[in-house]
């Protein structure tokens, strides 16, 4: 197992705090009625996106899910463009045409959040095919939830990646619920990673609340793919602190408060901060400074988004087709 350097620990922490602060701010904006549409928050799952993406370059690609902000930010996403997109503004990542569920940054290899569960997995496999086809050493990571592992597109795509030995990593974020239904009611398999053997690829279960553990496993899986040894599968057991949609959703109870509390006590950011202190990499003041700096960026970005112009009526009919050069 590789040991994370203090640089890696700081990088993990930075990405996780960026995601947490961004998502908390989104939740508040939504509750204040400022964001149109649906909002699926990533709070609680930060270690997964960060732990994987620290191992990636900007040229490596990720496909994402309806809960996609975390993947964008872990890939280095820009707060201003991200908030502007959530506000539906012309300055947003997608010029206000995609919103939360389609947020993307192709320059960072972030191939889009996706409103269709499992819909991004075949696209990530296509990107991995392009990487192999062009002889590049890039890797394509597909993030998806436990629920997506029950949809046909997932099976088709992961099998194809294995059959064609593509440079792909499949990262299952098992947060225990498909929308509002506990996973146990929709799958008989104990560990989703058990399915990897059925596709003929290595699979591992990892603690998705432990950023270092995710980083270590992803480090190996990414190196495996980059070296031309084919795809692998990681199942990160994690938890979302908030509802499927928004902070409280419709307020319908489907999880025990005790269960939520139990997971929150295993908070990945607090765990990593304890590790940072213990390793002497950051002290309390240093940790607070990271949070404060990121919070200031968040507030500046929200102001930018709020002041940004709405799309023009003419934008309705653009970006549908590409003109031939």
């Amino acid at each position: 197992m590789p040991e994370p350097t203090s640089e890696v620990l700081l990088d993990l922490h930075h990405r996780m705090v960026r995601i947490r602060r961004f998502e908390e701010a989104c939740g508040k904006l939504m509750e204040a009625g400022k964001l149109p549409g649906f909002l699926h928050l990533y709070v609680g799952e930060e270690a997964v996106a960060a732990g994987v993406c620290v191992n990636l370059t900007d040229a490596d690609q990720v496909s994402s899910t309806h809960r996609g902000h975390g993947h964008l930010i872990a890939k280095g996403g820009d707060f201003r463009k991200a908030f502007a997109e959530l506000f539906g503004k012309a300055t947003g990542y997608c010029r206000g045409k995609g919103g939360s569920m389609h947020i993307c940054d192709l320059e960072l290899g972030m191939l889009g959040a996706n409103g269709i569960v499992g819909g991004g997995v075949p696209i990530a496999v296509g990107a991995a095919f392009a990487d192999k086809y062009t002889g590049s050493d890039r890797v394509s990571v597909s993030f998806f939830g436990d629920g997506a592992t029950n949809i046909g597109a997932f099976h088709e795509a992961i099998n194809m990646a294995a059959a064609l030995q593509l440079p792909a990593v499949f990262v299952c974020e098992n947060n225990g619920y498909g929308e509002f239904t506990p996973r146990e009611r929709t799958q008989a398999v104990a560990d989703i990673a058990d399915r990897a053997i059925g596709y003929g690829m290595p699979g591992a279960v990892i603690d998705g609340m432990d950023a270092v553990a995710v980083w270590e496993a992803a480090h190996e899986a990414v190196a495996h793919a980059r070296a031309g040894n084919g795809p692998s599968f990681l199942e990160a057991k994690t938890y979302r602190y908030y509802d499927h949609q928004g902070i409280k959703g419709l307020g319908v109870s489907y999880r025990d408060d005790a269960e939520v509390l139990e997971w929150k006590q295993r908070d990945a950011i607090e765990k990593l901060e304890a590790q940072l202190r213990e390793a002497g990499v950051l002290d309390d003041a240093g940790i607070r400074a990271v949070h404060d700096r990121i919070q200031a960026e968040i507030e500046e970005a929200i102001a930018f988004a709020e002041e940004s112009p709405e799309p023009d009526a003419s934008d309705l009919l653009t970006d549908i087709y590409t003109d031939r050069a």
Binding site: Q61, S63, G92, Y93, C94, R95, G96, K97, G98, H102, C104, L106, L111, G112, N114, G115, I116, G119, V121, P122, I123, A124, V125, G126, A127, A128, F129, A130, D131, K132, Y133, T134, S140, G152, A153, E156, A157, N159, M160, A163, L164, T318, D319, I320, Y321, T322, D323, R324, A325
Partner: protein
């Protein structure tokens, strides 16, 4: 025949060979072009439209995939976003239903959803049409589904010449494009130049000029409309037959210009009549040329039923020259001969 004519005389090729030649030339011309789909490699395609390509280009560019339509289209979409020019084959049009999420929700919409930052130069080839006793899951004409989706382009070439030219145009076009061939026309031969050439996307062709009625045929119904026109000419009815060739974008201008001269229109397709592309064409004609119409726009299509297996029932189901001729007579208020 002059010397020049002899030199430029073009070979006749069957439709399937026109596809194979277009794909091979595209692949020689551009390293970014590859083919993926079920049986496209070792077997050369279930309709032999990719025969010999594996030998010439190898397995990285002629990819035998699992029977996984969603993953096939997704493979093409992801690779296209990364800058390649995939041709993915969904052999029977009916199977596109298996891949509809990847076609409709992903490939068609990525560019718009991503604010213009993505480009998806993907080509999907597929084969439609009844008349082979292939029953309800291997015979459909589902073009209307695709034409309804902003972001897609849809082509329905009906001659080997148009097939080669439109397929080349589709692959070079930077948008997700579906090229629909007609299974029953795979063996139909016609002149096909050896060199690469393109048929412009969104431009109809007037196949026969006439002054009494405009007949718009889709897919195999173009040939049936030409037969009907021949028959009707004997009755003194001159049909102008138009092959749109591209269904999305649709060349409304050519159709409307014709209707303004003929005052009558009939649209014919093999797909189910209700909600078929003919309904859209009829609506556009009445919107743009209402004052020129002497009669309602006639619509010829299949009845609202799945494609039957029984050859007897299937023959009743699929429109043909005779039903098109009847539709033309009805639009003109003319009785059939002998009636």
């Amino acid at each position: 025949m002059t010397a020049t004519d002899t030199e430029t005389e073009v070979r006749e090729l069957p439709m399937g060979r026109a596809v194979q030649e277009a794909v091979a030339q595209l692949m020689r011309d551009d390293d970014r072009v590859f083919v993926a789909g079920e049986d496209v490699g070792g077997y050369g395609g279930v309709f032999r439209t990719f025969a010999g390509l594996l030998d010439e280009f190898g397995p990285m560019r002629v990819v035998d995939t699992p029977i996984s339509e969603q993953a096939i289209v997704g493979l093409g979409t992801g690779a296209a976003v990364q800058g390649l020019r995939p041709i993915v084959d969904v052999m029977f049009m009916d199977f596109m239903a298996v891949a509809m999420d990847q076609i409709i929700n992903q490939a068609a919409k990525l560019k718009f959803m991503f604010g213009g930052t993505a480009t998806v130069p993907l080509t999907i080839t597929t084969w439609a049409g009844a008349g082979l006793g292939a029953a309800a899951q291997h015979s459909q004409s589902l073009e209307a589904f695709l034409c309804h989706v902003p972001g897609l382009k849809v082509m329905a070439p009906t001659t080997p010449y148009d097939m080669k030219g439109l397929l080349i145009a589709a692959v070079r076009d930077p948008n997700p494009t579906v090229v629909i061939g007609q299974k029953r026309m795979l063996g139909v031969t016609g002149p096909v130049p050896e060199e690469m050439y393109e048929i412009p996307i969104g431009v109809a062709e007037v196949k026969r000029e006439g002054s009494d009625v405009t007949v718009v045929g889709i897919g195999r119904m173009v040939a049936e409309a030409m037969r009907a026109a021949e028959e009707l000419a004997g009755e003194g009815i001159e049909c102008e037959v138009i092959d749109p060739r591209t269904l999305q974008p649709f060349d409304t201008g050519t159709v409307v210009e014709s209707v303004r001269r003929t005052y009558h229109a009939v649209v014919a397709h093999e797909a189910v009549r209700f909600g078929g592309i003919g309904a859209e064409i009829a609506a556009q004609i009445q919107e743009e040329a209402f004052d020129h119409l002497d009669a309602p726009v006639g619509r010829i299509g299949a009845p609202f039923a799945p494609v039957p297996f029984s050859p007897v029932l299937e023959k009743l189901y699929v429109p043909n020259a005779s039903t098109i001729a009847d539709g033309v007579r009805a639009a003109l208020g003319r009785a059939a001969p002998g009636s």
